[in-house]
């Protein structure tokens, strides 16, 4: 049994005292930033990147991965108790989670979120272990045409699952791709769209883009609204859900884990899309029996299981193909590069200790998180009683320092403020920022692979359709677009996102 052998290598690495300590540190830090709205894994990982240089590669990656999935756990606490998402991926949890808290059932909501996340974390760890090796083998056969088609599929997937108008989502993706091209062109060495500004010849930093579009834009709209927040901290007594709750949620958690894992594997997927899709699917399946939006426990279990599953399986495209599916994964690539590791299918064969150690650490980390979250819930609640007017200057400072620390350049902070403006405008115009970020990350890679594919085929564009894997990927992408155009599906999608 290869799998058992591989996992035993992995646990051998993950269970060393040093790596256990870093795993714990990552999970703890992840929960902390997950609970705090506005400070997410992107800012945190960006700040920690320079420090990881001094750590052994496995420990560094174990810690950074822990921050990402730890944040998924922490985000639900804020969503349930305060009605604002601690992480963007727990935005849908607010609907039923907060409604449950208002009915005095905050405890079971927190409990089911943690249990669902734990179950999803365990299953998706096994899924990574099962699916990553065959995928890496397939990936070795990938040429530039396949890479290009795969990225097209990822971008299409991200637009289909984005809110609002489809055509605006596609336009946002294109804008992201274009912004990603700013900087030196690798083939000709020409600095494109830099307008003589030397800082732009390295391109726009994606940390700044992500933090401006998400972090700053969110702070601005929160300050604008000056809403009052109410924290439920008195009513949390019984954290364990009743048997009836658990019976009700069993299939929900299993379905959501499956969907979340599948969406995480897709480049462009990850925790955010998984949570929205799982909530919409659950609402559809349960139908009129449920009381979604009014405190149905399944409305908490579904997105919380799915986002954790999606967060973990999004490591699959990173580890097997070297394609980042969201900004956090793009930062993980940065962390691997600092250690001198080129992400791609060869990681698994050349560095089995790193690969399997990281996977095993995810299971260990999930076990730590469930222990960390349930008994320490009082501490996190205390943290949430901090007023927003004290919190948002802190968010701004940490974002600014995080952006600055990537290149030690104040230019990047200015870029972030401009993207804060763009993010604000996009929110006002109902243009979803998520597809823009993905396009931004994938832009240079897509161009590179398109060029290579066309060079190899001597300018024949049919190469994308004649190579079987590439053709298959494009057919799926086209199918998704076709599905979107279909009137019946269009209606369902509009209903599903009407929250």
């Amino acid at each position: 049994m290869d799998l058992i052998h591989n996992l035993s290598i992995g646990f051998g690495v993950a269970l060393t005292p040093l790596n256990l300590a870093y795993c714990f540190l990552g999970a703890l830090l992840g929960t902390l930033i997950g609970v705090l709205p506005g400070i997410g894994p992107i800012a945190t990982i960006a700040m920690l990147l320079p420090v990881t240089f001094t750590l052994p590669p496995v420990s560094a990656l174990i810690m950074l991965a822990g921050i990402y999935y730890g944040a998924q756990y922490g985000g639900s606490t804020t969503a349930i108790l305060v009605n604002i998402p601690g992480e963007s991926s727990s935005a849908v949890t607010t609907l039923d989670g907060y409604a449950m808290a208002r009915r005095g059932r905050a405890g079971p909501a927190l409990g089911i979120a943690a249990i669902g996340s734990f179950f999803a974390g365990c299953v998706s760890t096994v899924i990574i272990a099962l699916f990553a090796p065959p995928l890496a083998e397939v990936a070795l056969k990938f040429g530039p045409a396949e890479y290009f088609s795969l990225m097209v599929l990822g971008l299409v997937g991200a637009t289909v699952l984005a809110h609002g108008s489809l055509i605006k989502a596609i336009a946002m993706t294109l804008l992201g791709l274009l912004l990603g091209l700013v900087g030196t062109d690798v083939n000709s060495g020409i600095a494109r769209f830099s307008f003589g500004i030397s800082e732009l010849s390295d391109g726009i930093g994606f940390v700044g883009v992500a933090m401006g579009m998400f972090g700053f834009a969110e702070v601005i709209s929160n300050v604008d609204q000056t809403e009052t927040r109410e924290v439920f901290d008195t009513s949390i007594k019984n954290l364990l859900p009743t048997w009836a709750d658990i019976r009700k949620c069993t299939w929900t958690v299993i379905r959501a884990t499956g969907l979340g894992s599948a969406l995480g594997i897709l480049p462009g997927g990850g925790a955010l899309l998984a949570s929205f899709a799982a909530y919409a699917m659950e609402k559809k399946i349960v139908g009129s029996d449920g009381e979604f939006g009014r405190g149905d426990i399944r409305g908490v279990a579904a997105p919380e299981s799915a986002n954790n599953a999606g967060a973990q399986t999004s490591f699959i495209p990173l580890l097997t193909l070297g394609i980042p599916s969201n900004p956090v994964m793009a930062l993980m690539i940065g962390a691997m590069m600092i250690q001198g590791i080129a992400p791609g299918p060869q990681v698994m064969t050349e560095r089995p200790q790193l690969f399997w150690g990281m996977i095993a650490s995810m299971w260990v980390g999930n076990a730590m998180l469930i222990v960390l979250n349930l008994p320490l819930i009082g501490l996190w609640v205390k943290l949430l009683t901090v007023k927003y007017r004290l919190l948002y200057p802190a968010i701004l400072i940490f974002c600014a320092i995080g952006v600055y620390s990537v290149n030690n350049a104040n230019f990047d902070i200015l870029v972030t403020s401009l993207f804060g403006l763009l993010g604000f405008i996009c929110v006002k115009l109902e243009c979803e920022p998520a597809p823009l970020i993905l396009g931004f990350i994938l832009g240079p890679m897509m161009e590179e692979n398109l060029r290579r594919a066309m060079l190899l085929s001597r300018g024949d564009p049919t190469v994308f359709a004649t190579r079987p894997i590439s053709a298959g990927l494009l057919v799926v992408a086209l199918g998704l677009i076709g599905l979107m155009m279909a009137p019946a599906f269009k209606k369902t999608r509009e209903e599903a996102f009407q929250e």
Binding site: I167, A171, L175, L178, I413, S417, M454
Partner: protein
């Protein structure tokens, strides 16, 4: 013809502007190449053209949309935008001639430009970040943090100008306490540990003080964030920050706050 959906109208315009801009700049300045050997302009021109087409569709849709949105989606101020353009031109002219004036003009361009769109919360929050970026190196992390916190709090409903002097004095006292403990202990336990101890004492003191003395909350906030940043990011993570203003560097180095 009547504009029905203002959100589509503006987003269509925005996408067309970006699409045309990228295509035209790429087409005029870089080599297109051929499909076999794509030049640096090939991919951007293709994407830009596609974006322009999509933008035009969205723009056209705004006249026939069944969804009604006002044309005033956000408060765009053309006059303010023009002033920003003038500042931008000035910055372009000063580039390479006078660094200080150039920075000033660039900061003005960004702040005024952002003020042309939307609400007070938008431009004041973004202005605080722009100011932070420009003063971080010359004035150091502590002062930059204080400026960001104070400016970003202006649009908040609980902000009172009258409380500001008291808050600033309180914040300065907290930071002075931190610096004094750091200076005293660094010879005994080393800079890292001294900074951690000083941070804990200063933060605890700031929280204790701010609860008892009304009107000092803002000062406590910037002092806590400044001290935390210096201790954790500077001393702890080793990120290269100046804690103090450049002109005071020698004095600061003696108490363990040097760059």
């Amino acid at each position: 013809m009547q504009i029905k959906n203002g959100k589509d109208f503006w987003s269509g315009l925005m996408f067309m502007a970006f699409g045309l801009g990228f295509s035209i700049v790429a087409y005029n300045n870089y080599n297109m190449g051929s499909a076999v050997r794509m030049g640096p302009a090939y991919f951007p021109v293709m994407l830009g053209a596609l974006l322009t087409v999509l933008g035009a569709v969205i723009f056209g849709r705004s006249f026939a949309s069944s969804i009604q949105h006002s044309i005033r989606v956000f408060a765009f101020r053309p006059v303010v935008f023009l002033i920003a353009c003038v500042c931008g031109a000035l910055a372009y002219y000063l580039r390479g001639h006078n660094d200080f004036l150039y920075s000033l003009a660039l900061a003005a361009t960004l702040i005024v430009g952002q003020a042309a769109f939307g609400t007070r919360a938008l431009y004041i929050v973004l202005a605080s970040v722009v100011v932070f970026a420009f003063v971080l190196k010359p004035l150091g992390l502590l002062l930059a943090t204080a400026l960001l916190v104070i400016i970003s709090r202006i649009p908040d409903a609980d902000f009172r100008w009258g409380e500001l002097p008291k808050a600033v004095i309180f914040g300065v006292v907290v930071i002075a306490v931190y610096a004094a403990i750091l200076a005293g202990l660094q010879g005994v336990v080393g800079v890292g540990r001294a900074s951690a101890i000083a941070m804990v004492v200063a933060i605890a003191g700031a929280i204790f003080g701010a609860r008892r003395v009304p009107g000092t909350e803002l000062g406590a906030l910037f002092a806590i964030l400044g001290v935390f940043s210096v201790a954790v990011f500077g001393h702890g993570l080793g990120l290269p920050f100046n804690a103090c203003p450049d002109v005071l560097d020698d004095a600061c180095r003696k108490i363990g706050l040097g760059s």
